[in-house]
């Protein structure tokens, strides 16, 4: 059991570092055991070094930085044992434009191997889609779905 845990932490840490660089565009990130001598009892900590900042605790990061860090960890777990698809529901909401662009770059690369479905309100994220569906409730309380041409995307969002 201990070996499985240590292997898992090492695998996730490796992916975490790679994903961190591509979505944060700089700095470095690690995941490690706080007390490596007692793996089963020891908590796991995330160490995030953001360019030029001296972060002591994750709670000092901003809302957007915390969301991006959490996403990085989830992507790392995903890449260690990937399903054939990935479904994202408004994960871009707290992010600014340049973080969204980096996130989109990461997703576009991932989409070469797996299928990605993204629910979003943000035009920058819509742009990376290959196919677009619009969900509407023209009849109140009843959802319908239509395939949409990207040129009409703005209309459907209203």
């Amino acid at each position: 059991a201990i070996n499985r845990l240590i292997e898992k932490i090492q695998a996730v840490n490796l992916e975490f570092g790679l994903v961190f660089e591509s979505v944060f565009g700089g700095g470095s990130g690690k995941v490690r055991l706080v007390d490596p001598d007692h793996p089963l009892e020891s908590p796991v900590e995330i160490v995030a070094a953001l360019e030029g900042k001296r972060i002591k605790r994750l709670s000092q990061l901003s809302g957007g930085e915390q969301s991006l860090l959490a996403l990085t960890l989830l992507f790392a777990f995903y890449r260690v044992n990937p399903a054939p698809f990935l479904i994202l529901d408004e994960v871009d909401a707290p992010l600014d434009d340049s973080n969204i662009q980096r996130l989109c770059g990461f997703l576009k690369e991932l989409a070469q191997k797996i299928q990605i479905i993204i629910i979003t309100h943000n035009p920058l994220t819509i742009r990376i889609g290959d196919y677009l569906y619009g969900v509407t409730m023209e009849e109140p309380g009843v959802s319908k779905v239509v395939a949409v041409d990207f040129r009409d995307a703005a209309r459907i969002m209203e």
Binding site: A1, R4, L5, E7, I9, V12, L40, P43, V44, E45, I46, G63, Q66, S67, A70, L71, L73, L74, F77, Y78, V80, N81, P82, A83, P84, F85, L86, I87, L88, D89, E90, V91, P94, K108, A111, Q115, I116, I117, I118, I119, T120, I126, I128, G129, D130, Y131, L132, Y133, G134, V135, T136, M137, P140, G141, V142, S143, K144, I156, M157, E158
Partner: protein, 162 residues
């Protein structure tokens, strides 16, 4: 393996059958608040055997069935069907895997894999063999809680020792 088609009937805000075809690459889903986007996300979670009310945003499984609108009566059951293209990963299931799940207001359920009846456990086993589903559904509400939560537990569960 990839998702080929999802069809939803009587599930949450979908009283009429709705079909979504999926392809390789990135599919984006847009729409106003409350239009039913996350209900699609829930339908995919449910078809793979998810039973958790908190994941499915309901108090009891019956809340998944269309409860009516100002112009329509409530539905008697819900049925979700997912067709996966099987590119050799699980050869015993053939070139396509069709998963069907039905739930009636009478509390009965039907489950099918490639149109032959099965149990919920068979669908959950299939989901395990496909692999990686526990980190394939990422939603904005749950993301903020990760940093403050118990990260160690994520490792214990993923290493199978939780």
């Amino acid at each position: 393996m990839r998702i080929k088609r999802l069809s939803i009937y009587g599930f949450k805000s979908f009283p009429e059958e709705v079909r979504l075809d999926f392809h390789r690459g990135i599919t984006v889903i847009v729409g106003p608040n409350g239009s039913g986007k996350t209900n699609i996300f829930d339908a995919i979670r449910w078809i793979f055997g998810d039973q958790s009310p908190s994941n499915l945003r309901c108090e009891k499984i019956e809340d998944l069935i269309f409860f009516g609108s100002s112009q329509r009566r409530s539905a008697g059951f819900t049925e979700v069907k997912l067709i996966l293209e099987n590119e050799g990963e699980l050869p015993e299931f053939g070139p396509e895997i069709e998963i069907t799940r039905r739930f009636y207001r009478s509390q009965e359920s039907d489950f099918y894999i490639n149109r032959s009846p099965c149990r919920l456990k068979d669908i959950q086993d299939l989901a395990l063999r496909i692999g990686g589903l526990s980190y394939a559904f990422l939603e904005s509400g749950k993301i903020k809680e990760i940093i403050r939560g118990n990260i160690k537990r994520m490792f214990d569960e993923s290493a199978g020792i939780a």
